[in-house]
Protein backbone atom coordinates (compact mmCIF):
# COMPACT_ATOMS: atom_id res chain seq x y z
CA UNK A 1 0.00 0.00 0.00
CA UNK A 2 1.55 3.32 -1.01
CA UNK A 3 0.41 4.88 2.29
CA UNK A 4 2.50 2.58 4.47
CA UNK A 5 5.43 2.18 2.11
CA UNK A 6 8.70 3.55 3.41
CA UNK A 7 10.82 5.46 0.88
CA UNK A 8 12.70 3.11 -1.39
CA UNK A 9 15.10 3.71 -4.24
CA UNK A 10 13.34 1.19 -6.44
CA UNK A 11 9.95 1.87 -8.04
CA UNK A 12 7.06 -0.13 -6.58
CA UNK A 13 6.73 -2.47 -9.55
CA UNK A 14 10.36 -3.47 -9.27
CA UNK A 15 9.94 -4.46 -5.63
CA UNK A 16 6.68 -6.32 -6.24
CA UNK A 17 7.84 -8.19 -9.36
CA UNK A 18 11.41 -8.76 -8.35
CA UNK A 19 13.76 -10.88 -10.45
CA UNK A 20 15.29 -12.28 -7.25
CA UNK A 21 13.44 -15.34 -5.92
CA UNK A 22 14.22 -14.42 -2.31
CA UNK A 23 12.38 -11.12 -2.72
CA UNK A 24 9.53 -12.91 -4.45
CA UNK A 25 8.97 -15.07 -1.42
CA UNK A 26 8.44 -11.96 0.66
CA UNK A 27 5.86 -10.64 -1.76
CA UNK A 28 3.81 -13.84 -1.89
CA UNK A 29 3.86 -14.25 1.87
CA UNK A 30 2.90 -10.65 2.46
CA UNK A 31 -0.01 -10.89 0.03
CA UNK A 32 -1.26 -14.10 1.65
CA UNK A 33 -1.07 -12.54 5.11
CA UNK A 34 -3.11 -9.57 3.88
CA UNK A 35 -5.70 -11.96 2.48
CA UNK A 36 -5.91 -13.81 5.80
CA UNK A 37 -6.39 -10.53 7.65
CA UNK A 38 -9.16 -9.62 5.24
CA UNK A 39 -10.85 -12.96 5.96
CA UNK A 40 -10.56 -12.22 9.67
CA UNK A 41 -12.20 -8.84 9.13
CA UNK A 42 -15.00 -10.53 7.22
CA UNK A 43 -15.69 -12.86 10.13
CA UNK A 44 -15.61 -10.01 12.62
CA UNK A 45 -18.20 -8.21 10.50
CA UNK A 46 -20.26 -11.40 10.55
CA UNK A 47 -20.21 -11.39 14.33
CA UNK A 48 -21.23 -7.73 14.38
CA UNK A 49 -24.11 -8.54 12.06
CA UNK A 50 -25.36 -11.20 14.44
CA UNK A 51 -25.04 -8.71 17.28
CA UNK A 52 -27.06 -6.14 15.34
CA UNK A 53 -29.75 -8.69 14.58
CA UNK A 54 -29.94 -9.72 18.23
CA UNK A 55 -30.42 -6.14 19.41
CA UNK A 56 -32.73 -4.86 16.74
CA UNK A 57 -35.03 -7.82 16.24
CA UNK A 58 -38.22 -7.47 18.30
CA UNK A 59 -39.49 -10.47 20.22
CA UNK A 60 -42.18 -12.13 18.11
CA UNK A 61 -45.75 -11.55 19.29
CA UNK A 62 -48.16 -14.37 18.94
CA UNK A 63 -51.91 -14.11 18.36
CA UNK A 64 -54.37 -15.55 20.78
CA UNK A 65 -56.45 -18.22 19.03
CA UNK A 66 -59.20 -20.47 20.31
CA UNK A 67 -58.29 -24.08 19.63
CA UNK A 68 -61.06 -25.93 21.35
CA UNK A 69 -63.58 -26.27 24.12
CA UNK A 70 -63.12 -27.87 27.48
CA UNK A 71 -64.44 -31.40 27.32
CA UNK A 72 -64.43 -31.45 23.53
CA UNK A 73 -61.95 -34.29 23.38
CA UNK A 74 -61.82 -37.32 25.67
CA UNK A 75 -58.96 -38.01 28.10
CA UNK A 76 -55.89 -39.18 26.10
CA UNK A 77 -57.61 -37.87 23.00
CA UNK A 78 -56.13 -35.49 20.45
CA UNK A 79 -57.23 -32.62 18.30
CA UNK A 80 -55.28 -31.17 15.39
CA UNK A 81 -55.16 -27.42 14.84
CA UNK A 82 -53.03 -24.79 13.13
CA UNK A 83 -51.10 -22.13 15.13
CA UNK A 84 -49.81 -19.44 14.68
CA UNK A 85 -50.21 -19.66 10.87
CA UNK A 86 -52.31 -22.09 8.86
CA UNK A 87 -49.09 -23.79 7.74
CA UNK A 88 -47.99 -24.61 11.31
CA UNK A 89 -49.74 -27.84 12.21
CA UNK A 90 -50.14 -28.54 15.94
CA UNK A 91 -51.57 -31.26 18.10
CA UNK A 92 -53.64 -30.77 21.28
CA UNK A 93 -53.64 -33.63 23.75
CA UNK A 94 -55.82 -34.02 26.81
CA UNK A 95 -53.48 -35.81 29.18
CA UNK A 96 -55.82 -35.73 32.19
CA UNK A 97 -59.22 -34.56 33.32
CA UNK A 98 -58.14 -30.96 33.48
CA UNK A 99 -54.74 -31.15 31.81
CA UNK A 100 -54.17 -30.15 28.25
CA UNK A 101 -50.89 -29.89 26.41
CA UNK A 102 -50.20 -28.84 22.84
CA UNK A 103 -47.14 -29.19 20.64
CA UNK A 104 -46.07 -28.42 17.11
CA UNK A 105 -46.68 -31.47 14.99
CA UNK A 106 -43.47 -31.01 12.96
CA UNK A 107 -40.90 -33.53 14.13
CA UNK A 108 -37.62 -31.71 14.87
CA UNK A 109 -35.69 -34.33 12.91
CA UNK A 110 -37.04 -34.10 9.36
CA UNK A 111 -40.47 -32.49 9.88
CA UNK A 112 -42.69 -35.57 9.61
CA UNK A 113 -46.06 -35.25 11.42
CA UNK A 114 -45.94 -36.76 14.91
CA UNK A 115 -48.93 -38.55 16.38
CA UNK A 116 -49.94 -39.31 19.97
CA UNK A 117 -49.71 -42.94 20.96
CA UNK A 118 -52.30 -43.42 23.70
CA UNK A 119 -50.94 -46.90 24.45
CA UNK A 120 -47.37 -45.71 25.06
CA UNK A 121 -48.37 -42.29 26.37
CA UNK A 122 -45.90 -40.40 24.16
CA UNK A 123 -45.65 -38.56 20.90
CA UNK A 124 -44.19 -40.68 18.15
CA UNK A 125 -42.78 -39.89 14.76
CA UNK A 126 -43.46 -42.68 12.27
CA UNK A 127 -40.61 -41.82 9.90
CA UNK A 128 -37.54 -42.69 11.96
CA UNK A 129 -38.95 -43.85 15.32
CA UNK A 130 -38.37 -40.58 17.15
CA UNK A 131 -40.29 -40.41 20.43
CA UNK A 132 -41.12 -37.27 22.42
CA UNK A 133 -42.35 -36.94 25.99
CA UNK A 134 -45.94 -35.71 26.25
CA UNK A 135 -45.08 -33.86 29.45
CA UNK A 136 -42.58 -31.37 28.01
CA UNK A 137 -41.87 -32.43 24.43
CA UNK A 138 -38.31 -33.56 25.17
CA UNK A 139 -36.75 -36.30 23.10
CA UNK A 140 -37.06 -39.78 24.58
CA UNK A 141 -35.46 -41.74 21.77
CA UNK A 142 -34.47 -41.56 18.16
CA UNK A 143 -32.74 -39.18 15.74
CA UNK A 144 -34.42 -35.88 16.74
CA UNK A 145 -31.96 -33.61 18.52
CA UNK A 146 -34.23 -30.82 19.71
CA UNK A 147 -37.44 -31.03 21.77
CA UNK A 148 -40.83 -30.42 20.16
CA UNK A 149 -41.85 -26.76 20.33
CA UNK A 150 -44.60 -26.43 22.93
CA UNK A 151 -47.70 -24.32 22.39
CA UNK A 152 -48.57 -22.24 25.47
CA UNK A 153 -52.21 -22.76 26.36
CA UNK A 154 -54.56 -20.66 28.47
CA UNK A 155 -58.01 -21.30 29.76
CA UNK A 156 -60.62 -18.65 29.17
CA UNK A 157 -63.78 -20.04 30.67
CA UNK A 158 -64.86 -22.98 28.55
CA UNK A 159 -62.39 -22.17 25.81
CA UNK A 160 -58.82 -23.26 25.40
CA UNK A 161 -56.61 -20.60 23.85
CA UNK A 162 -53.23 -20.94 22.21
CA UNK A 163 -51.20 -17.82 23.12
CA UNK A 164 -47.56 -18.54 22.30
CA UNK A 165 -44.88 -20.90 21.06
CA UNK A 166 -42.04 -21.96 23.31
CA UNK A 167 -38.69 -23.19 22.03
CA UNK A 168 -39.28 -23.12 18.30
Amino acid sequence: MPLLRSPSKEPLWKDEFSVFTSDERYVTRRQFTKFLTLASLGMFVGNLWILAKAYFTKAPSFPSVTVGEVGEIPVRGVKLFAYPTPQDHCILIRTGEEEYVAYSQKCTHLSCAVYFSAKEGRLECPCHQGFFSVRDGSVLQGPPSRPLPQITLERDGPRILAVGVKGS
Binding site: F17, V19, F20, T21, S22, E24
Partner: protein, 198 residues
Amino acid sequence: MQGYEFYVDPSRCIGCQSCVRACEECETHRGTSLINFDFIDRGGTTASAAYVCWHCEEPTCAMACPTDAIKKGDDGIVQSSLKPRCIGCSNCVLACPFGIPKIFPQYEQMMKCDMCYDRTSMGKRPMCATVCPSQALSYVRPEEIRGRREKPTNVFQFGNQKIVTRVHMMVPSKTDSVSMDVLDYMWEESYAAFAQPQ
Protein backbone atom coordinates in the same frame (compact mmCIF):
# COMPACT_ATOMS: atom_id res chain seq x y z
CA MET B 1 28.31 -25.99 -5.41
CA GLN B 2 29.62 -24.26 -2.34
CA GLY B 3 33.10 -22.87 -2.72
CA TYR B 4 33.41 -23.57 -6.45
CA GLU B 5 33.53 -20.87 -9.09
CA PHE B 6 33.36 -20.93 -12.86
CA TYR B 7 36.37 -19.61 -14.80
CA VAL B 8 36.46 -18.88 -18.52
CA ASP B 9 39.79 -18.53 -20.32
CA PRO B 10 39.21 -18.03 -24.04
CA SER B 11 42.92 -18.09 -24.80
CA ARG B 12 42.99 -21.78 -23.84
CA CYS B 13 40.17 -22.74 -26.18
CA ILE B 14 41.35 -25.17 -28.88
CA GLY B 15 38.08 -25.28 -30.79
CA CYS B 16 37.37 -28.98 -30.19
CA GLN B 17 33.70 -28.18 -29.44
CA SER B 18 33.51 -30.86 -26.76
CA CYS B 19 31.62 -28.34 -24.65
CA VAL B 20 29.04 -27.92 -27.42
CA ARG B 21 28.46 -31.68 -27.62
CA ALA B 22 28.48 -32.08 -23.84
CA CYS B 23 25.96 -29.29 -23.32
CA GLU B 24 23.56 -31.17 -25.61
CA GLU B 25 23.60 -34.09 -23.17
CA CYS B 26 21.61 -32.29 -20.51
CA GLU B 27 18.23 -33.94 -19.95
CA THR B 28 16.29 -30.71 -19.80
CA HIS B 29 17.31 -29.52 -23.26
CA ARG B 30 18.59 -32.67 -24.91
CA GLY B 31 19.87 -32.11 -28.40
CA THR B 32 20.14 -28.35 -28.12
CA SER B 33 23.45 -26.94 -27.10
CA LEU B 34 23.22 -23.79 -25.03
CA ILE B 35 26.88 -22.90 -24.93
CA ASN B 36 27.99 -19.83 -26.88
CA PHE B 37 30.81 -20.95 -29.07
CA ASP B 38 32.45 -18.37 -31.36
CA PHE B 39 35.10 -18.40 -34.00
CA ILE B 40 36.90 -15.11 -33.51
CA ASP B 41 37.82 -14.46 -37.15
CA ARG B 42 37.02 -17.51 -39.20
CA GLY B 43 38.74 -16.34 -42.30
CA GLY B 44 41.89 -15.18 -40.62
CA THR B 45 42.57 -17.43 -37.68
CA THR B 46 41.65 -20.72 -36.06
CA ALA B 47 41.13 -18.98 -32.70
CA SER B 48 37.87 -19.79 -30.96
CA ALA B 49 36.20 -18.97 -27.70
CA ALA B 50 33.48 -20.63 -25.69
CA TYR B 51 31.32 -18.74 -23.24
CA VAL B 52 28.67 -19.65 -20.75
CA CYS B 53 26.09 -17.35 -19.19
CA TRP B 54 27.93 -14.94 -16.93
CA HIS B 55 25.19 -14.97 -14.23
CA CYS B 56 25.38 -11.28 -13.51
CA GLU B 57 24.70 -9.90 -10.05
CA GLU B 58 22.03 -7.64 -11.51
CA PRO B 59 20.95 -9.61 -14.58
CA THR B 60 20.05 -7.28 -17.42
CA CYS B 61 18.13 -10.03 -19.20
CA ALA B 62 15.91 -10.49 -16.15
CA MET B 63 15.40 -6.76 -15.74
CA ALA B 64 14.39 -6.45 -19.40
CA CYS B 65 12.00 -9.40 -19.42
CA PRO B 66 8.41 -8.14 -19.77
CA THR B 67 6.86 -11.30 -18.33
CA ASP B 68 9.15 -11.75 -15.32
CA ALA B 69 10.24 -15.10 -16.78
CA ILE B 70 13.91 -14.97 -15.81
CA LYS B 71 14.73 -15.40 -12.15
CA LYS B 72 17.89 -15.25 -10.14
CA GLY B 73 17.99 -17.58 -7.17
CA ASP B 74 19.55 -17.28 -3.74
CA ASP B 75 22.63 -19.14 -4.93
CA GLY B 76 23.34 -16.51 -7.55
CA ILE B 77 22.45 -18.58 -10.61
CA VAL B 78 20.31 -16.81 -13.22
CA GLN B 79 17.88 -19.47 -14.39
CA SER B 80 16.79 -19.95 -17.97
CA SER B 81 13.38 -18.53 -18.81
CA LEU B 82 10.32 -20.11 -17.18
CA LYS B 83 8.39 -22.08 -19.77
CA PRO B 84 4.88 -20.88 -18.85
CA ARG B 85 5.93 -17.23 -18.85
CA CYS B 86 8.33 -16.78 -21.78
CA ILE B 87 6.64 -15.31 -24.83
CA GLY B 88 9.69 -15.36 -27.12
CA CYS B 89 9.88 -11.59 -27.48
CA SER B 90 13.73 -11.51 -27.61
CA ASN B 91 13.98 -8.60 -25.17
CA CYS B 92 16.59 -10.50 -23.20
CA VAL B 93 18.50 -11.42 -26.34
CA LEU B 94 18.81 -7.73 -27.18
CA ALA B 95 19.43 -6.66 -23.60
CA CYS B 96 22.23 -9.04 -22.61
CA PRO B 97 25.57 -7.26 -22.96
CA PHE B 98 27.29 -10.59 -23.61
CA GLY B 99 24.80 -11.94 -26.13
CA ILE B 100 24.11 -15.13 -24.20
CA PRO B 101 20.34 -15.81 -24.40
CA LYS B 102 19.22 -17.66 -27.50
CA ILE B 103 15.73 -17.51 -28.89
CA PHE B 104 14.16 -20.65 -30.30
CA PRO B 105 11.27 -19.57 -32.54
CA GLN B 106 9.95 -23.11 -32.93
CA TYR B 107 9.23 -23.22 -29.21
CA GLU B 108 8.70 -19.45 -28.77
CA GLN B 109 11.10 -19.79 -25.91
CA MET B 110 14.40 -18.37 -24.83
CA MET B 111 16.92 -20.86 -23.55
CA LYS B 112 20.27 -20.13 -22.02
CA CYS B 113 22.96 -21.70 -19.94
CA ASP B 114 21.87 -22.18 -16.33
CA MET B 115 25.24 -23.53 -15.08
CA CYS B 116 23.80 -27.06 -15.42
CA TYR B 117 21.64 -26.39 -12.39
CA ASP B 118 20.46 -29.98 -12.23
CA ARG B 119 24.13 -30.96 -11.78
CA THR B 120 25.62 -28.10 -9.76
CA SER B 121 22.80 -28.18 -7.23
CA MET B 122 23.66 -31.83 -6.61
CA GLY B 123 27.39 -31.35 -6.17
CA LYS B 124 28.54 -32.09 -9.73
CA ARG B 125 30.36 -29.88 -12.20
CA PRO B 126 28.65 -28.37 -15.25
CA MET B 127 28.93 -30.54 -18.36
CA CYS B 128 31.13 -28.13 -20.33
CA ALA B 129 33.66 -27.70 -17.52
CA THR B 130 33.80 -31.46 -17.06
CA VAL B 131 34.73 -32.21 -20.66
CA CYS B 132 36.88 -29.22 -21.67
CA PRO B 133 40.32 -30.77 -22.37
CA SER B 134 42.25 -27.54 -22.09
CA GLN B 135 40.17 -26.29 -19.16
CA ALA B 136 39.26 -23.12 -20.96
CA LEU B 137 36.01 -23.65 -19.06
CA SER B 138 36.77 -24.75 -15.54
CA TYR B 139 34.71 -25.12 -12.40
CA VAL B 140 37.13 -25.25 -9.52
CA ARG B 141 37.92 -23.69 -6.18
CA PRO B 142 39.59 -20.26 -6.19
CA GLU B 143 42.78 -21.77 -4.69
CA GLU B 144 43.27 -23.98 -7.71
CA ILE B 145 42.95 -21.10 -10.17
CA ARG B 146 45.66 -19.13 -8.39
CA GLY B 147 48.21 -21.45 -9.93
CA ARG B 148 47.59 -19.93 -13.35
CA ARG B 149 49.51 -17.04 -14.81
CA GLU B 150 46.36 -15.10 -15.63
CA LYS B 151 44.10 -13.76 -12.93
CA PRO B 152 40.35 -13.95 -12.75
CA THR B 153 38.08 -10.96 -12.85
CA ASN B 154 34.34 -10.61 -12.72
CA VAL B 155 33.98 -6.90 -13.35
CA PHE B 156 33.09 -5.68 -16.84
CA GLN B 157 32.91 -2.08 -17.97
CA PHE B 158 30.37 -1.38 -20.68
CA GLY B 159 30.95 2.30 -21.29
CA ASN B 160 29.65 3.92 -18.12
CA GLN B 161 27.95 0.79 -16.80
CA LYS B 162 29.79 -1.58 -14.51
CA ILE B 163 28.61 -5.17 -14.57
CA VAL B 164 29.62 -7.62 -11.87
CA THR B 165 29.18 -11.26 -12.73
CA ARG B 166 29.41 -14.56 -10.94
CA VAL B 167 31.42 -16.28 -13.64
CA HIS B 168 35.04 -15.15 -13.82
CA MET B 169 37.04 -14.32 -16.92
CA MET B 170 40.77 -14.97 -16.98
CA VAL B 171 42.61 -11.77 -17.92
CA PRO B 172 46.25 -10.68 -17.97
CA SER B 173 47.53 -10.27 -14.42
CA LYS B 174 47.89 -6.52 -14.72
CA THR B 175 44.26 -5.96 -15.78
CA ASP B 176 41.60 -5.16 -13.20
CA SER B 177 38.46 -5.35 -15.23
CA VAL B 178 37.44 -6.10 -18.75
CA SER B 179 36.43 -3.05 -20.65
CA MET B 180 34.00 -3.54 -23.50
CA ASP B 181 34.39 -0.40 -25.52
CA VAL B 182 33.47 -1.66 -28.98
CA LEU B 183 36.05 0.46 -30.70
CA ASP B 184 38.78 -1.20 -28.65
CA TYR B 185 38.03 -4.46 -30.34
CA MET B 186 37.65 -3.38 -33.94
CA TRP B 187 40.24 -4.07 -36.60
CA GLU B 188 41.28 -0.53 -37.39
CA GLU B 189 43.19 -1.47 -40.57
CA SER B 190 39.98 -2.73 -42.15
CA TYR B 191 37.83 0.13 -41.00
CA ALA B 192 39.98 3.18 -41.52
CA ALA B 193 37.03 5.49 -41.11
CA PHE B 194 36.58 4.32 -37.51
CA ALA B 195 40.26 4.20 -36.61
CA GLN B 196 40.80 5.89 -33.27
CA PRO B 197 44.17 6.73 -31.81
CA GLN B 198 44.76 4.43 -28.82
